[in-house]
Amino acid sequence: MLKRIAGIFSGVLVSTLLFVSTAGAYELVMPSMDYRTGPYAPNGIPFANGYHDYLVMLNERDGGINGVKINLVPCETAYNTKQGVECYEKVKGEGDGALIIQPLSTGITYQLIPKAPVDEIPVHSMGYGRTSAANGKVFKWIFNFPATYWDQAAVALKYIGDREGGLDKLNGKKIALVYHNSAYGKEPIRTLEAGAEKFGYEFMQLPVDHPGQEQKSTWLQIRREKPDWVLMWGWGVMNQVAIKEAASIRYPMDHFMGVWWSGSENDVLPAGEDADGYLSGAFHAPGDDFPAHDDIKKYVYDAGKTAPGAERERIGEVLYNRGLIAAVYASEAIRNAMDIHGTKEVNGAMVRDGLEAMDLTEARLTELGLPGFTIPVKVTCANHAGPRKVAIQQWDAKAKEWNFVSDFYDTMHDIVDPLIEEDSAGFAEENGITPRDC
């Protein structure tokens, strides 16, 4: 406890000193929309720590991005849409202006979609948010690479097809979706409905209200209907309860698959051995055996520059690594912006160009100390979702670790692309947007 309190105070002190010492000079303002409090804090904290640590490491090791210091501006959203929008309004004008916003909430992202072009600050909703923002022709300021929820749903079907002996074997099967009853949880429904039409499986929808602490009736319905596969779009306590309930009704864990937000250590550890075999989507590796993690330990943890309360032993957890890769994408976009515009003093519009020019190859990932950490990402004017590839990972309860059990699957373009086209066209029409020609 004393260590924790000391950590909190030293973190606050260091942040204050950093702020005071760097005030005045041009800085790269990078807001961090955190949620370290509230019911979703257990998931928000590791993500926020990963984001914080990577950017602080860049400051300490390289003097920032191309020598320009990063001013990391945290703002607490508590995973609450209203609070998140207030945060955005607060941080957007910080210093020389926010360069990129990563809202870490589908609800907040939806609210910021109309604000981004007005304020000229790009929004990167990495693997969440509005799926059809993948269409860069319509959503100039919104990016959602490296994959969307519809891609995850399509890949889940592909994986199930592989396990069942082919996609044609889905005919007559029953697939249930247990989802957080929110904008986020409802995202995959259209894809799974389209999949049901194409492959002939029966699709069951089982919403769970926030926060999801009590799900008995959901799992009783699963027990009665006996779906062949259960997919989950959950977050926070909903995931832990669902995995325990599934184990209770003896649902086979290797037929229970969560989206990438339902596949962290937090989700499976409370269920203990019962969670063994549970599956989830993933777009980056777990673990801390990458050179970038070594640098974080050296320049951030050894130097006592951690976020308040951060613990060294949690480096490399799934959600920590997700925060880290979000920071990598953001910092690379800024680097691209500097190269494209030939200046170190970039603004939001320039960073938008940097995001659209993102070409994060394996060679570049290796240079960044993250070889094999994730798939290469190439973003274009038309495609803001990048590679749209997803792998499946499985929990080993004995070893307490996630292991990849598949390669990265490509999405089902024939199902998902028309949906993206249709949804984004509807958005363009409603909002009087003329799609860009690219």
């Binding site: 406890m1 804090a41 009853n181 919403p207 832990q240 209770s248 550890l269 203990g272």
Partner: protein
């Protein structure tokens, strides 16, 4: 028994068991409301705080382990947590309640809202926000015997919770009816001024009743923490107790139990049989519908005291 009938039985049993879990939270509300007329908004946070404290006494990696390099056995951890809850109750009385004697109930209610936020913040600072798996040996998972022999799914944790709640109600009933302190509590509940005039110390009674509510919160925290891991969303279980209180009455211990059972069964049956026709996820608000329907017929709740004021 046909498959459908067996399934209906499972839904009802699950509803009853879930209802007991809600009742455990509602009991804490009832105790404080009975003694002081305060709706304690912080009851859910008390359950969270108690569970967090217990975890840190008994679990490897908890702060006792961090500071002293050992952990307490479960029974000692529970006793120590009871001690912590008594200290919390004493602090609440000293720092909050004693300054609000004779104030309107709404002021006291608002102070408990503040208290909820403070306890949540302090809990976060002291114990961290991680999910903490709680395993104190309570059986979990389906009853294999019932499932294998009768195809009936009943959750062992919830049966354990039901037995615990039954014991808790008996203990509370004895405490209220048979002990001197219990009689004093009832006297304060009936009329503060009259109780004060015969020498009952309101401040002592408040410390006692908040301590007892803290212990009930510990039981609720253990049950809910065992179910989902201890985490900050535990504080939201208070929301599940509100329809139970509306239905059962704010001043009745049996009302909390019966109300919990009715709400539990009602919401599960509604979700399973009505939910699929209206898009699902109706159980949270359906519980309130059910409670409000009961209020049409008994405005004071099923077991609440009917207040008659003569002009």
């Amino acid at each position: 028994m046909s498959g459908e009938a067996l399934f209906f039985l499972e839904v009802v049993i699950s509803g009853l068991m879930a209802g007991v879990m809600y009742a455990l939270v509602a009991l804490g509300f009832v105790l404080i409301f009975k003694a002081s007329g305060v709706l304690n908004f912080a009851q859910g946070v008390l359950a969270l705080f108690a569970a967090l404290a217990l975890y840190d006494f008994i679990a490897p990696g908890g702060w006792v382990d961090d500071l002293f390099g050992f952990t307490f056995p479960i029974w000692a951890g529970i006793i120590l947590t009871v001690g912590v809850m008594i200290i919390v109750a004493w602090l609440i009385e000293r720092l909050v309640l004693q300054h609000l004697v004779q104030q309107e109930p709404i002021i006291l209610f608002m102070s408990t809202i503040g208290l909820a936020y403070i306890l949540e913040g302090v809990g976060d600072m002291l114990f961290g926000s991680d999910v903490k798996p709680l395993d104190i040996g309570i059986p979990q998972g389906a009853s294999d015997w019932l499932l294998d022999n009768y195809g009936l799914y009943v959750e062992k944790l919830e049966v354990f919770a039901a037995l615990t709640a039954a014991i808790l109600v008996i203990v509370l009933a004895v405490f209220f009816q048979k002990t001197r302190i219990g009689r004093a509590l009832r006297a304060v509940a009936d009329d503060h001024q009259a109780a004060l005039s015969v020498g009952v110390s309101l401040r002592t009674i408040w410390v006692i009743v908040w301590s007892v509510a803290g212990m009930v919160a510990l039981v609720a925290g253990i049950m809910w923490g065992s179910k989902s891991g201890i985490q900050f969303s535990l504080s939201l279980i208070a929301l599940k107790a509100l329809p139970v209180l509306i239905l059962g009455g704010f001043t009745s211990v049996p009302g909390a139990i019966i109300g919990g059972l009715i709400i539990g069964v009602g919401e599960k049956v509604a979700e399973v049989y009505l939910g699929p026709y209206v898009g699902g996820a109706i159980e949270n608000w359906f519980a309130y519908v059910l409670a409000l329907v009961f209020l049409f017929f008994r405005p004071q709740g099923l077991f609440g005291e009917r207040i008659i004021e003569r002009v």
